[in-house]
């Protein structure tokens, strides 16, 4: 079993890498058997969530591929041209136009956001090219509301901040794909200050919206969810959101998910809280089974002989189509990663040991177990060449922009590479510019991800849709206390970034 996680898919050609792994499994006879194959994660397949949020019982949600939206609203072609040259930019843009022309991208950012409601993540930070996203897209949004348990750059960009209760101030549970357990998050203390459970905040907003819609006699608003016409009746929003008053609290929604999800023990939330955690059904082995509350997709074909969604119905390694006309896409063969010319070092990033994404990364105790501020790992030889010592502040830069962080000089990093734990909020950097200022990859749309109507290559949010990549660029660094070096000749963007 190759546990791929969400690492390889952060490269533009990550899909090819994973196709290569699958091909390797097939060629070596390691497909369709216990311990074989490849897995990114075992998705929690909680039917309760589907019933509540997507299947018409509750409010009905639409998931869009944000990278496509960003491409349209943030002038992705111009970003690519500036970074990687016209050839690459035109190539990707051609595929993008073709996909739109063919109706393959149902939600590609035709209309700008009038209002943004941010919840569940630090939106203004996590996107590739975060700085540019804030400047080109977010700055044009009229009203931004953020629900968050801690302050962040997203909160700073917001007109309204609604404080959300912390994990142990609310009733909830957690399912994580690599463990078979459903683990309780119970309320140990009441929410701090004005903060509230996030489900309660949404319910109260739904109630207020319903009241306004009734007062305005608002007719149902027509919309389209994955090709199906729907009408959102905001006068009924409160009823829909609370399932006609059935769900009044976060405890109730947790109970609804337990009751309505296959493979989860049918117990009360209180019983779950008492036990702390319970095991999902059918969750032995490296791949959880059909009756488990996790996705069964990977086993459906190998065990139950259910055909794959490919054109051939089998695992398919060759794409023969003009849709993926570039010959190097037909088979998973090597192509060099994209780089920005003139910058010798590749910066990669990964999850921090000290936290998850940006949440609580500013915790004083955890900071005392690091360097107290954002740091970047550099190779000793690369550092010597630039007269950088361990602990010096360095400016990491390329033609898009730059950011400043402390150098951690370590032999664990190969020459020609830099590494930084991601998740540091821009608020913790000089000029509020974090690595997002130098990551120019937001507009890299993989042509094979834009293709539809070719077997399994079909627009399918969360499964097969254009994704953001994060590693396809290069940088250089220099000591922060020295005068910035002259921008590379002919590189206007670098001059602009420094001016």
């Amino acid at each position: 079993m190759i546990y791929a996680g969400f690492r390889s898919c952060k490269w533009l050609h990550g899909d090819k890498l994973q196709r290569a792994w699958l091909l390797m499994c097939a060629l070596t006879g390691n497909t369709g058997r216990e311990g074989g194959g490849m897995q990114t994660t075992q998705l929690a397949n909680s039917d309760g969530v589907v019933k509540f949020a997507f299947a018409g019982l509750g409010p009905r949600a639409k998931i869009a591929a944000l990278s496509v939206w960003d491409y349209a609203r943030g002038d992705g072609k111009q970003l690519n041209a500036k970074t990687y040259g016209d050839k690459t930019a035109n190539h990707l843009d051609e595929h993008y136009r073709q996909a739109i022309g063919n109706g393959w991208l149902p939600d590609y950012g035709k209309t700008p956001w009038k209002m943004a409601f941010m919840a569940g993540h630090n939106t203004a930070n996590w996107r590739a090219s975060g700085t540019r996203f804030r400047e080109t897209v977010l700055a044009k949004v009229d009203t931004i509301v953020t629900m968050t348990p801690d302050m962040s750059v997203t909160a700073m960009y917001s007109d309204y901040v609604l404080p959300v209760a912390h994990h142990y101030e609310r009733q909830d549970f957690v399912m994580e794909g690599h463990t078979p357990f459903i683990q309780v998050l119970d309320r140990a203390v009441p929410p701090l200050g004005e903060s509230e459970d996030d489900w309660q905040i949404m319910a109260r907003l739904a109630k207020a919206i319903s009241a306004r819609a009734i007062a305005r006699e608002l007719e149902p608003v027509k919309d389209n969810i994955y090709g199906q016409p729907v009408a959102h009746d905001y006068r009924n929003l409160e009823q829909i959101f609370t399932l006609n008053g059935q769900i009044g609290s976060s405890r109730d929604i947790a109970q609804f998910l337990i009751d309505n999800s296959d493979g989860m023990p049918k117990i009360s939330f209180e019983e779950l809280a008492r036990r702390g955690f319970v095991r999902g059904d059918d969750s032995e082995g490296t791949q959880f089974g059909k009756k488990s509350p996790f996705s069964y997709q990977t086993l459906a074909s190998t065990q139950d002989k259910q055909p794959y969604a490919t054109l051939t119905g089998r695992q398919q390694f060759l794409f023969r189509s003009r849709l993926v006309s570039e010959g190097r896409e037909a088979l998973p063969v090597y192509v060099a990663p994209l780089a920005i010319e003139g910058y010798p070092l590749r910066l990669t990033m990964g999850h921090a040991r000290h936290g998850v994404h940006s949440i609580y990364r500013d915790d004083p105790f955890l900071l005392s177990l690091q360097r107290g501020e954002p740091d970047i790992h550099v190779n000793p030889g690369d550092a010597r060449l630039r007269r950088v010592k361990d602990g010096d502040l360095v400016r990491t830069f390329n033609s898009l922009g730059s950011f400043v962080a402390m150098a951690r000089v370590t032999a664990a990093i190969p020459s020609g590479s830099m590494f930084m734990f991601h998740g540091w909020d821009p608020m913790m950097f000089e000029g509020r510019q974090n690595f997002g200022a130098a990551i120019p990859t937001a507009a890299l749309l993989k042509p094979t991800s834009l293709v539809s109507q070719y077997g399994h290559l079909n627009y399918n949010p969360l499964e097969y849709a254009p994704n953001q990549t994060y590693h396809d660029y290069t940088v250089d660094f220099e000591r922060h206390d020295l005068k910035p070096s002259a921008p590379k000749s002919g590189d206007r963007s670098a001059a602009v970034a420094r001016s």
Binding site: M151, A155, M156, R353, H354, D362, P364, F365, L366, L367, S368, L369, Q370, R371, G372, E373, H377, N379, D390, G391, R408, V409, T410, A411, A412, I413, P414, S415, D425, M427, M428, F429, E430, G431, R432
Partner: protein
């Protein structure tokens, strides 16, 4: 008959997540005056550790020729500390400052995390958790002029009596492991208590119980059926840290295995990455036979034979890590 509780830490499984450090900190040292204290810490080795360069002071402390040596005191900055951030200024007062600690950190408990030795790709480092060794011959106890430090008969846990301590800091100078701390707010020395209230209830110390890697074993040294006696005395794979300091520590370490280096063509060579001499400098002459035993048992297990040692170290059942209550005396 005095008894001794002990801990074995398997360094092959430590990922440096600091869950032990956080468990200890939130249970015992989150009060004013304890900001720089980590009764339990995890440091990257080779490296200066916490407090910074403690081994240099260690060599000047502990026992020598039957007498206690006082190795001096560290500077405050060798410990690093917890500092609040300028949240108020940044988020609510509209300043242009970046969000940062009010006192910048210039060295600290985990400053050298992942700072590796050697050259890529044959660089090497590993994580080493440390806590009070609850020594059989505690230098701190010997050094205290007011007899505030005592060693319990029933489990050998070494405690500083907070009512008797007058803050001479002699214990801080004597401990070669730098595991006694000074609380400036109350002018008393404080240190790891091996979670004795938990031990008395039959529970493992918080650092051991919270460890996600299941790498800490806790039990009595004289319990021949327990994990400690097996790893320390029977199989001899767990070794004391810096035994030459002379205090007879009761925290033992399973030394890290020695991965091979890559040769110029990217193939494994037969040279080890971590120099054996470095490990011997930490854990003494027992390193070589201990590693040989582990290698032999791994080979046995690979060939399908049973191995008591591998069963113990893999620890499929977390309860097998601890044997604290209902111990049969031998």
């Amino acid at each position: 008959m005095p008894r001794q509780i002990a801990m074995v830490i398997d360094l092959n499984k430590c990922i440096g997540c600091q869950t032990c450090t956080a468990a200890c900190k939130s249970l015992w040292t989150d009060e004013a005056g304890q900001e720089n204290m980590l009764w339990n810490n995890v440091e990257t080795k080779p490296g200066p550790g916490y407090p910074k360069n403690w081994e240099e002071k260690g060599a000047r402390s502990g026992w020598k020729d039957g007498a206690i040596q006082l190795g001096g005191l560290h500077e405050d900055e060798d410990y690093g500390n917890v500092s609040t951030l300028n949240h108020e200024e940044v988020y609510f007062k509209g300043t242009e400052q970046r969000l940062q600690r009010k006192e910048p950190l210039r060295s600290g408990a985990n400053w050298d995390e992942d700072v590796s030795s050697g050259d890529f790709p044959n660089n090497y480092h590993f994580y080493m958790p440390r806590l009070c060794n609850h020594c059989t011959k505690p230098a701190c106890l010997e050094a205290c002029p007011v007899r505030a430090i005592y060693k319990r008969e029933q489990d050998g846990i070494v405690l500083v009596d907070q009512d008797k301590c007058v803050g001479t800091r002699m214990c801080n100078q004597a401990c070669p492991y730098d595991k006694v701390y000074f609380n400036h707010m109350v002018s008393k020395s404080q240190k790891c208590v091996f979670c004795f209230p938990r031990i008395e209830k039959g529970e493992a110390p918080a650092c051991a119980r919270q460890c996600p890697g299941r790498l800490r074993f806790v039990g009595y040294l004289d319990d021949l059926d327990g994990p400690i006696a097996k790893l320390v005395h029977k199989l001899k794979v767990a070794l004391p840290l810096h035994a030459e300091y002379g205090t007879e520590p009761n925290v033992y370490y399973v030394p890290p295995l020695l991965p091979q280096t890559f040769d110029e063509e990217g193939r494994f060579s037969d040279r080890s990455r971590v120099p054996l001499e470095y490990l011997q400098g930490l854990f003494g002459a027992g390193v070589e036979p201990a590693l040989a035993t582990i290698a032999a048992e791994m080979a046995r297990r690979k060939s399908g034979e049973p191995s008591e040692l591998m069963d113990l170290l893999i620890a499929k059942d977390w309860k097998s890590l601890f044997k604290i209550k209902d111990v049969q005396l031998v």
